[in-house]
Symmetry: C2
Subunit: 431 residues, 2 copies
């Protein structure tokens, strides 16, 4: 038996706004940040658990306060009972009735719970000597179903239906694991398309993306239609007529505006339109999906929880589902999201980028391929080539694919020297 | 000209869990709390602005951290330009792209913005020498429309449509203001129905509610069907066959479970079923509404923003809309919510209770009556007789009606001695 002895939180911010990396129509000057958690135990193995919430700067301190508010749930507790029943552990954190009032299950408090859950998975995976994707992929269907909180989901998927999906995928697990280890998981890149880049930089980065083997690029749009047309023309000329180009409006539009704008850009050939409007607007996304078809709608990086994903699927509001490793309540809720998508036959193409999101979310897509949907068809993980050098197990993306990570853990561990170097010590910054 | 010179925040918690006041199926032991904000200026008038976020205990410190994160936006700023264009001020707070990432527009960060907006309205109303409801009711339709952020709303209501609603209500304003000052605004009471109370206490409080002149009571349900049947029978016997009795499940059920449970209780005669399932589940509420008709569905106290209210109305998912003064982004967003309801012809019956919610939300209903919907028909404000003594302008509820407050301000100012007496100094409490 071992105990959790400390809950170490750090406010980490990278000054990315200085280079306009990550600039889009809603986020002109992000400073990629992490409200970082390290769970320390008294075990002789020296294993600790790492998780974080990704933010883009101001407010990262609020997110750290939310992590601190969860310390009382865990510090002093015996670790093994928590790790042995991660379904119960997850439900206990989500179920704190007083903390629940702050959401429920959304925003700052819910993301903090997600970071705690992910940090516990990190310990569990390290103790098992496996990368998270492999640990999850080797659990039985019953064990996986027990991880999921089906509250509010049963009108879309029941535990029995989830079990059947997982059982159907069971026979092919070993073969797919081998295939994954050999060929990796497809990536697409957003690096060329940030709004703050010049046309020359855009063209150069498009060429590099193709040369690097990526199967799709994505451009930020939504600030100015003429600019978007010009930039799409540049990208299309460089990439050729058949190369998939997605666009991302980062919630910029009204519903009718989205339909008009996307239809104006559709002649350039669009792989999908991402986040056309408010991430809360299920019915709006459904209206947009009908209005821009056959262009596909993608969303999810700001979907606050499984209840929103459930409805987006019920309303045929998306064709591409974009989970995020640090937005919802952690690994457990993302398993619910993967099961919802699998039942609907909708491909999951996770949101990544930021800081550490690629490192974390690849485990979920790889688990999905091996043990849930059983396919990579039409799936890929976003990739942005920023800040990977700060992670103990950085993503290994070559030839346009994510190589399956082999190191034990959940992938969110940042190097100690990076954590120290980018610990935020600034004063509060206003507008 | 004057400046904002301080942003004073306090973590205030009342130990209400000791008496089971406020206990329901999801919240067994709430400690009614306020993440409290006082905005201090250097003006000679000595007027300061008070606002808060209501929480139920743990996590109130996180909510205070979120208030602190907004200080940089306001401290040192000239006050008059902020107060003169509250629409712009509201949009600037909501629009901080970095803070927005923590929601967007939901949960801890959004509620903190709401408290700031409300505290600024408190100053504006005090400077005008008017209670908030009267200040708002005397603004022109154009001025009111300028307060609203229509982003993500225009497929349900446009600024022009809002203007027309307000203009249509303009001729009757003076008469309704007089009527309100004379007869007040109807209240209903939840005091009898907390889940932790004995049948004897329930029966006694039902009798008292009727004797006190309330036109409706509400019972908490959802923990155990047999208990609910027994308690409804007690209440119905005491109240008689025609007295309106609403029930409130506080998000306890799955969709199909809600339909079955409500239909099992429907023979007792239900004024409405409140919060049957997840507050995020627009489509689920719509399915429940169809499944329990003619029983009406009420929801909204946990609706995170105007985009959720918009969809609830679009989907015919509610028949009674329950705004909350401290859940969304403050007075401005609640004006949007009132306009959405008015366009749909749905009555607004605000959530109140907790600590200070009655004091705050009455201003919005009274403004709605005078200047927006123009009617009290089918409308009433929740009332719970707890903790009013801590407010500088406590609610005056007699004969089952809220008397219109006459004191200047927005109603959220807690007495200094109460703030000092209930300031939280405890250590963090786990489960």
């Amino acid at each position: 038996m071992s105990r959790i002895v400390a809950f170490e939180t750090t406010d980490i911010r990278f000054p990315t706004s200085l280079s306009l990396d990550g600039s889009d129509a809603m986020n002109p000057d992000p400073d990629y940040s992490a409200a970082y958690l390290r769970i320390v135990t008294d075990a002789a193995d020296g294993v600790d658990g790492h998780g974080f919430v990704f933010t883009i700067g101001r407010g990262n301190d609020v997110q750290v306060a939310a992590l601190d508010a969860l310390a009382g749930h865990l510090v002093g507790r015996e670790l093994e009972p928590l790790l042995d029943d991660m379904g119960r552990t997850n439900r206990a954190l989500i179920g704190d009735s007083q903390l629940r009032w702050l959401g429920p299950e959304k925003g700052v408090m819910h993301m903090a719970i997600g970071a705690v859950v992910n940090a516990l998975w990190d310990i569990k995976a390290k103790r098992a000597g496996l990368p998270l994707w492999q640990l999850l992929s080797r659990m039985t269907p019953d064990e996986i179903v027990a991880l999921v909180d089906f509250r509010y989901l049963t009108n879309a998927i029941t535990p029995d239906e989830a079990l059947q999906i997982l059982r159907d995928a069971e026979p092919g697990r070993a073969a797919r694991e081998q295939e994954l280890l050999t060929t990796g998981y497809p990536a697409y890149t957003t690096s060329p398309g940030w709004l703050g880049y010049s046309d020359e930089k855009l063209a150069r980065l498009c060429r590099e993306a193709i040369a690097d083997g990526f199967g799709q690029i994505k451009l930020k749009v939504g600030a100015d239609l003429e600019d978007d047309i010009r930039r799409l023309r540049v990208a299309r000329e460089v990439c050729g007529p058949d190369f998939p180009i997605a666009i991302d409006a980062n919630q910029r539009w009204e519903v009718s505006e989205a339909i008009e704008w996307v239809n104006a850009l559709a002649p350039f050939g669009l792989a999908w339109i991402e986040e056309p409007t408010s991430p809360d607007d299920v019915l709006g996304h459904a209206e947009i999906a009908r209005g821009v078809a056959p262009v596909r709608v993608a969303t999810g990086e700001h979907a606050q929880n499984r209840v929103i994903f459930k409805q987006l699927l019920q309303a045929d509001a998306l064709s591409v589902m974009q989970i995020d490793a640090a937005r919802v309540g952690g690994v457990n809720e993302n398993i619910a999201n993967l099961l919802l998508a699998a039942k609907s036959g909708v491909p999951v193409c996770p949101h990544a980028g930021g800081v550490g999101l690629c490192e974390a979310v690849q485990h979920l897509s790889m688990f999905d391929f091996v043990a849930v949907s059983g396919t990579r068809e039409g799936r890929m993980i976003e990739y942005v080539d920023h800040l990977h050098e700060h992670f103990v197990v950085p993503t290994d993306v070559r030839g346009g694919v994510y190589a399956a990570p082999l190191a034990p853990g959940a992938g969110m561990e940042m190097k100690a020297e990076s954590r120290a170097a980018y610990e935020w010590e600034g004063t509060r910054v206003g507008v």
